[in-house]
């Protein structure tokens, strides 16, 4: 009797939630195999994040695509980074993920493991990714399946405001081969010369710089097994920042926390409050255009004795993915193919989405590049010689990596816990959330 009731109850509850459940059922449908393009009119949705300038460029590319394929109508959906992912989560939950989306490596495994993304090998009759380098393509795979087409990969660099160094008469060391000691001395000298008006360095701000730091110490944030980071390495990452703050080379903790998450044009580097920072190389052009009064330079990280070589790696800047729930996988694949291979798209985009992975794109845009663009390309060419193996992308369950890092960084920098304790807390929490989804 009792059993009967509970079953009835469960059935009732299940019925009440049918809406949500059904919506989620769309995920994991029949795999797509060599679909045919439709002759009739088709509308596909296409989503990306980014600023207004990127929106204009992307809309231009869409127009070109629609001209080429008059029966396909592309519905553009764009937002800023934060809102983009909230919306992605909710629309995907409703079985309504955009047919084609711009994606980031931090979310790639999360969505792929949950069956939300289209296996691109099923549309290889339309989508040709042979122009891309194998090492780059690998970053778009999850467990050996190609779910994403990388747009490019870029190393992490030190951005230097050379105008400030000149203004205060501080000589920069030879940055083509410099050590951490030289780096710190340059930062300190600038603070002394400017009487504290300018700080030498903005501390590490994201998980990308943590990754490079870990590799310099011969470690990784993630390996194939999951979280590989050791507490010692992470503690040293924070200790280095604390040293800079204590010596005055970096701004105060208050100030660092206040500017956390600031938009690019409000960062200390752009406002000239600090002279050096660690940035993804793909963002260099955006920094330079946000700071037209300064002459910015992009160089490799300092190294020196005890630093592992090959610490740089091409971190995938972003991807194109298609939804597994797409009703028009053929047209979605066609749009991705167009965005990946048509050099006219390369010319329109320029370096807005980072340095392109397709060599034909680079060739097409090179003649028209301005100084900043050429500088960015020169940096990646010089770093390319020193690239090490590409680590696995952020695993499922770790898409909160940056939020988590930010939270523990604040604890460590504010002195609420020692760097060592914060490191253990961070690693435990990260490991738990990766294991929870296994």
């Amino acid at each position: 009797m009792k059993r009967h009731t509970s079953r009835a109850l469960r059935a009732g509850v299940a019925a009440a939630t049918a809406g949500v459940t059904l919506a989620a059922c769309g995920v994991g449908a029949e795999p797509v195999r060599n679909p045919e393009l439709s002759d009739g009119d088709v509308t596909i949705s296409y989503a990306w994040w980014g600023a207004e300038a990127r929106a204009q460029l992307t809309l231009e590319a869409i127009e070109l695509f629609e001209e080429e394929y008059p029966n396909i109508d592309v519905d553009p959906q764009y937002a800023e980074w934060g809102g983009y992912w909230d919306r992605m989560a909710t629309t995907t939950a409703a079985g309504d993920m955009p047919d084609v989306s711009q994606f980031d490596q931090i979310y790639l495994s999360s969505y792929a493991d949950r069956g939300a993304l289209l296996d691109l090998s099923g549309v290889s009759n339309i989508l040709d990714i042979s122009a891309l380098d194998e090492r780059i393509l690998e970053t778009g795979r999850v467990d050996g399946t190609q779910y994403a087409v990388p747009l490019g990969g870029a190393a992490n660099g030190v951005i230097i405001n050379t105008t400030l160094f000149e203004e205060y008469g501080v000589e920069l060391p030879d940055t083509s081969d410099w050590t951490w000691d030289e780096f710190t001395r340059a930062a300190d000298d600038l603070v002394t010369a400017s009487d504290g008006e300018v700080r030498g360095v903005s501390p590490f701000a994201d998980s990308f710089s943590l990754g490079v730091w870990a590799r310099q110490q011969g470690s990784e944030v993630f390996d194939d097994e999951g979280v590989a980071l050791s507490a010692d390495v992470l503690a040293s990452f924070w200790q280095r920042q604390l040293d800079w703050i204590d010596s005055g080379a970096a701004p105060s903790v208050d100030h660092i926390i206040e500017t956390t998450g600031a938009t690019l044009d409000q960062t200390d580097l752009v406002t000239g409050r600090t002279a050096m920072a660690f940035i993804p190389a793909g963002a260099f052009i955006a920094y330079q255009s946000a700071a037209p009064d300064f002459d910015l330079d992009l160089v490799n990280w300092p190294s020196g004795d005890g630093i592992e070589p090959g610490f740089q790696y091409p971190k995938p800047t972003m991807y194109w993915v298609a939804a597994s729930t797409s009703e028009h996988p053929a047209e979605a694949a066609l749009l991705i193919d167009f965005l990946t291979n048509d050099t006219r798209v390369g010319e329109i985009f320029g370096l807005d989405r980072g340095e392109p992975a397709n060599p034909a794109f680079t060739e097409a845009i090179e003649p028209d590049l301005d100084d900043t663009g050429r500088e960015a390309l020169a940096f990646s060419e010089s770093v390319a010689q020193e690239m090490g193996d590409t680590p696995p992308i952020t695993p499922n369950g770790a898409s909160t990596l940056d939020a988590l890092l930010n939270r523990y960084t604040q604890q460590a920098l504010l002195g609420e816990t020692s760097p060592r304790e914060a490191a253990e807390g961070f690693i435990n929490e990260l490991t738990d959330s990766v294991r929870a989804v296994d």
Binding site: V13, A14, A16, T17, G19, V20, T21, A24, C25, V27, G28, G82, W85, D86, A89, T90, T92, A93, S110, Y111, R114, G115, A116, S252, V253, D254, H255, I256, I257, E258, T260, G261, S399, T400, A403, N406, R407, Q410, Q411, L414, E416, S433, V437
Partner: protein, 314 residues
């Protein structure tokens, strides 16, 4: 209850009006149903439906993309070992317990001042009401960062006196304080309600008290406050319910992190992070129900306590 009684007596009297009344009655009921339908549909589709769904989800592991998996009481068990939940409860309770009474005191004080019949009352009232319209907006939260930042308005002011103020929004000890001030600043809505309430108090009572030689203080304590107590109670209940659910201010001022170091991690902000950033929608649903229970308990406590201090004079 009384409205229901009235309704019954009306329908009873209708029935007594004879055979013609029955037709009219059914027609009236139909019309009523049609007029109610939009509201009823809305209630079912956007309130009751999602509530039932979220009650079910509260007992599942649901990552938004795959079918929810029933996990029984796992989410509730998780609450007991969740340090960030404890942190967010502490932050939320501090916020509610400090900011709600403080806001009521400010609103009441200003209402008493304005009630003295100064010239240009409606202008002052509008000006003082303005922050309430803006307070919950994103723009003001952004402004707050600028006012209480290291180079903000507050520190520029302190600088005049040679005080070098800290960055109020990025110090874990003061960040919540800035949000409490933001909440208190939106005193307009309760103030307007207080003003209306003050107008309801019969003037004769004050005249009689003045004749008997009662001081202004005495009048305030023995006439104004007791007669205003139902209004105070109303504002208190609304204020508590509203501030337990505060989200926007903390979200914007901390860039969605609840920082610095979780010092502004409001309950609803944590719930949001769990659901939409960590993809733990099942747990987030359980948290939503916990919030509902907490607010319900506080409101019940309020109603119970009201017997001892709220005075209904009719």
């Amino acid at each position: 209850m009384s409205a229901l009684d009235e309704f019954r007596s009306i329908s009873r009297s209708r029935r007594r009006t004879g055979p013609a009344g029955t037709d009219e009655e059914t027609r009236d009921n139909k019309v009523a149903a049609i007029f109610l339908a939009p509201w009823l549909l809305g209630l079912l589709a956007i309130t009751i439906g999602p509530m039932i769904t979220s009650l079910y989800l509260a007992f599942t592991d649901y990552n938004l993309l795959q079918d929810p998996k029933f996990t029984g009481l796992e989410n509730i068990r998780r609450m007991f070992t969740d340090d960030r939940l404890a942190e967010s409860l502490q932050v939320t309770f501090t916020y509610v317990i400090v900011s709600v009474p403080l806001q009521l005191v400010v609103a009441l004080g200003l209402a008493l001042l304005l009630d003295r019949g100064i010239r240009g009352l409606s202008l002052y009232r509008s000006i003082l009401y303005l922050p309430s319209l803006l307070g919950a907006s994103v723009a003001i939260a952004v402004l707050w960062r600028l006012v209480f930042g290291a180079d903000g308005l507050v520190n520029s002011f302190l600088d005049i006196f040679g005080v070098d103020g800290p960055s109020w929004v990025s110090d874990p000890d003061t960040a919540l304080g800035t949000l409490i001030i933001l909440h208190v600043w939106t005193f307009g809505a309760p103030m307007v309600i207080f003003l209306a309430g003050l107008r309801q108090i019969p003037r004769e009572l004050y005249e009689a008290a003045a004749t008997d030689g009662a001081s202004r203080r005495r009048q305030l304590l023995s006439i104004t406050l007791p007669l205003l107590s139902p209004i105070i109670f109303f504002n208190l209940v609304l204020g508590l319910i509203g501030s337990f659910q505060s989200f926007t201010q903390a979200f914007i001022v901390s860039n969605g992190t609840g920082g610095p170091s979780d010092s502004t991690l409001f309950f609803s902000l944590y719930l949001y992070q769990e659901g939409f950033t960590s993809f733990r929608m099942g747990y987030a649903s359980a948290l939503a129900w916990l919030l509902l229970i907490i607010i319900g308990a506080f409101t019940a406590l309020n109603f119970w306590a009201s017997k001892y201090w709220v005075f209904y004079h009719d």
